[in-house]
């Protein structure tokens, strides 16, 4: 019943947002922005991401892979099996892999170690399409929802964590490609937009906090739940860069840079986006 309602909400939203814009000036623009905000509020607790959370929980608890094991002993940083609050303290250094890892690379580690699944099989299709839903993205929905309401606390105690922060910062400001874009080209000023899409200023504490604590998210325009690795991947695509490797150190460093800048904020995801 609830699921049917969530589906209906998603469809109504998509229809409303697809409404053609009238001819006019600033007033229409403000109307559109205010409209999107109204629909976000209308959704309230009824984020279609809940469907992905439920699916992710099922995947988490279902035996899979050559080892026929579940992910219930997966260590996300707070000890084996602890999901509650784990996402608010990622990325972080993991002793067993000697790597700083974000949620998605850590899920890969657990699937490999606990379930015996080959890395290549896990990362072959990490992002959902209109026809195929990604298991990792559902797991991301499940895990992140268990940090809702908790303060962001990304550790920077270890030298590797501090180095990841510095590398992520460098990548954020790195201008290259045929269009000379860096992340900062779009994300270093307040109140700017691409078309009607509002852009967070990730160089400020307030901007990083709002952006990071509302991802991952259900994307209304795509009708899909999207992970943070997807968010970075699609930014790099539009930046006209080559493709970042899924779960690579570069993506983790960039994630950690933004996540650590959001420290202290209350995690509020999964979110809902245009």
């Amino acid at each position: 019943m609830r699921r049917a309602f969530l589906h209906a909400v998603g469809i109504v939203l998509a229809v409303i947002l697809a409404k053609p814009a009238g001819a006019g000036g600033d007033e229409d623009v403000q109307d559109t922005s205010a409209g999107i905000e109204r629909y976000r509020q209308m959704l309230g607790e009824a984020n279609p991401a809940e469907l992905d959370e439920a699916r992710g929980e099922q995947i988490w608890k279902t035996a899979a892979g050559p080892a026929q094991a579940t992910l219930e002993r997966c260590d996300l940083g707070l000890g084996p099996g602890v999901v509650k609050g784990a996402y608010a303290q990622l990325p972080r250094l993991f002793a067993d892999t000697a790597r700083v890892q974000d949620l998605e690379s850590r899920l890969i580690t657990c699937m490999m170690k606990l379930q015996g699944i080959a890395q290549a099989d896990i990362v072959a299709k990490p992002f959902s399409t209109s026809t195929v839903r990604s298991d990792i993205e559902a797991l991301v929905a499940y895990v992140t929802a268990q940090s809702r309401g908790m303060p962001m606390h990304v550790p920077l105690d270890e030298p590797q964590e501090r180095q990841a922060y510095s590398l992520g910062e460098r990548l954020f400001f790195y201008r290259a490609g045929p269009y000379d874009f860096s992340c900062a080209s779009c994300h270093s000023q307040d109140g700017r937009r691409i078309r009607l899409q509002e852009l967070p200023n990730l160089t400020t504490k307030a901007g990083a906090r709002h952006a990071y604590t509302t991802w991952p998210a259900y994307r209304v325009s795509q009708g899909l739940f999207r992970s943070f690795q997807w968010r970075l991947n699609d930014c790099f695509r539009q930046q006209r860069f080559p493709e970042p490797v899924y779960g690579s150190d570069a993506t983790i460093a960039l994630t950690l840079f933004i996540a650590a800048n959001a420290n202290g904020a209350i995690y509020n995801g999964p979110g809902i986006k245009r």
Partner: protein
Amino acid sequence: MLAATACAAFATHADAADSALDARFRQMLLDDFRARGVAGMDRLDQDDVQKLCTDTRDRPRGAAVQALLKHQQELIRWPEDGRFLGDWRAGEKLAQEGRGMTWADRPGGPTGGSCYGCHRISPAEISFGTIGPSLLHLGRDRGSSPQMQRYVYGHIYNAKAYNLCSYMPRFGTSGALTEQQIKDLVALLLDTDSPVNRP
């Protein structure tokens, strides 16, 4: 003297840490990105402008700035026929078109100016971005003299010849747009018949 030595020692230490991080960063780029479609790994190589803008966080300073600006100016290929105004209708289509040059775009497929991504242009299009200034009424406000046409052509061809660390791509220099396409965009912005300038 002691203080100076201590400072020098500190600077050397900081430089060493910096260059170690630098080396790690370069390796990370090589290891963690891969060529896909039209987006090759060579896109991660920086030219002098990209490098200086990265190093100064887009606030360029130092002796190199004037020389780099001059070099960027020299990269502009001005139209041999001396004309700058193309067809504003074709310009509007190009301004709307945001595709091109990503790994998902096919080689030889449409490449637009993505202008509405960042600028307000024609009054009818309310879905416009705000990273760049509004260009609505540009011709009406600033005129469409040959000098102004030349300036707008040059700016679209190579924005870095005017503002070294501009957020705007170098559409001519990068090969994203042809001479004719840039002329069409100049017409969109400056032609008196263009919706941008109609009363």
